[in-house]
Symmetry: C5
Subunit: 103 residues, 5 copies
């Protein structure tokens, strides 16, 4: 899995039947900053994910990719390869708190 | 999933039986422009996809990869690893409308 | 899926039983040239594929990756992650014919 | 599979039901140093994994990705694409011991 | 699939039950040298694979990735994403013999 920040959303009216009613979010994968090891930084890549946990823009989330994105109760029949499966409270790495949510 | 622009199409006469009659489109993956965060830009990569939604050249689409590309009604028996599952109306990211279709 | 050029072949005598008799081809993935958008160019990467359509060296082909490589009649029991599923006649992109076979 | 170092952990309260109680570790993939071929070095990438073997921070581990991450007794129903399946004692490469644990 | 050179091995005592007794090899993926097209060269990447064919250090092998790594007789229940499925005798590409084993 990987960490990502929700940066926005996608509107698609014309889509396969199974995807009707699914919220599609834009996310940017994150990594631990290689230089200071003290924060997460964006990778510049863009993925589109189905949301299963009520994530909102600006939140840091956990993404599962591939066939496993179909292994939640809400996604098992969907033609998707990426799903948000958790909202992140905090991330510790290299002895530092590299991310802490505002909740 | 990822966003992509349909840039063209492929003709293949000699192919596996299951693929006969399938429209094969050329797509270029897109990402949110890292600099201005105000538009989508091409990544320069080239994928070939089966189309399930009647997408046409120039349109911005949603692509699913991997085994999940076989999870639509039209593609379940096909030996494919990428399918277009939606036509994009608009994309919002970083507080900007980074894409808006002309329909 | 992706486009690739068949550049050669592999000989392997000692291999898993299921692969006995399978032709193994060397391919180089192709992409639309980002500069002129008028031709395909090699990516420099090297993949090994099973051939299901009688492709020969020098031909441009369509490759499927991952579990879907096992979804053709000839490959369903093979431990493979890439198969040639079509020989390409022509590719159009950005309004140009970026590839045309000699047949 | 790939080698990685456990660098930290993730806390996520709001997540899909199946993931409740699963320890989520932050790992950095490693490779054999191309220059000296005498040590492992970090790649700077960040993955989140489920742990099945009781790995701790600072340990070097073996990671499996994709659908196979669901092929252990503990992970078979989880929506995950990466799991730690072993703790590494030592790695030999190019005639050198490139890693040796402290146990 | 891809070509790789076996560069070493991994020792892991503490691992998931299914992996007990499995030989874990370190491999470096290879590609056809883009410059001279006359040899294979290393990519600098490091993968860990299960061996199904008795490969030894220094040998050039064929690797299958993903769920298909579980499609050999010896690996079908293993939580693995990469397996060696053949030992390479020779590779021809661009009209050159880019690799020839010593057997």
């Amino acid at each position: 899995m990987f960490l990502a920040k929700v940066t926005g959303s996608v509107v698609s009216t014309q889509k396969v039947q199974q995807m009707v009613g699914q919220k599609l979010l834009v996310v940017e994968p994150l990594r631990v900053d290689e230089k200071n090891k003290k924060s997460l930084k964006g990778t510049g890549r863009t993925f589109i994910c189905v949301d299963t946990v009520g994530a909102g823009e600006g939140e840091t989330v956990l993404i599962v990719q591939g066939s496993s994105a179909r292994f939640t109760e809400d996604t098992k029949t969907l033609p998707i390869d990426a799903a948000i499966i958790g909202i992140i409270d905090s991330v510790d790495s290299h002895g530092n708190t590299v991310f802490k949510g505002t909740n």
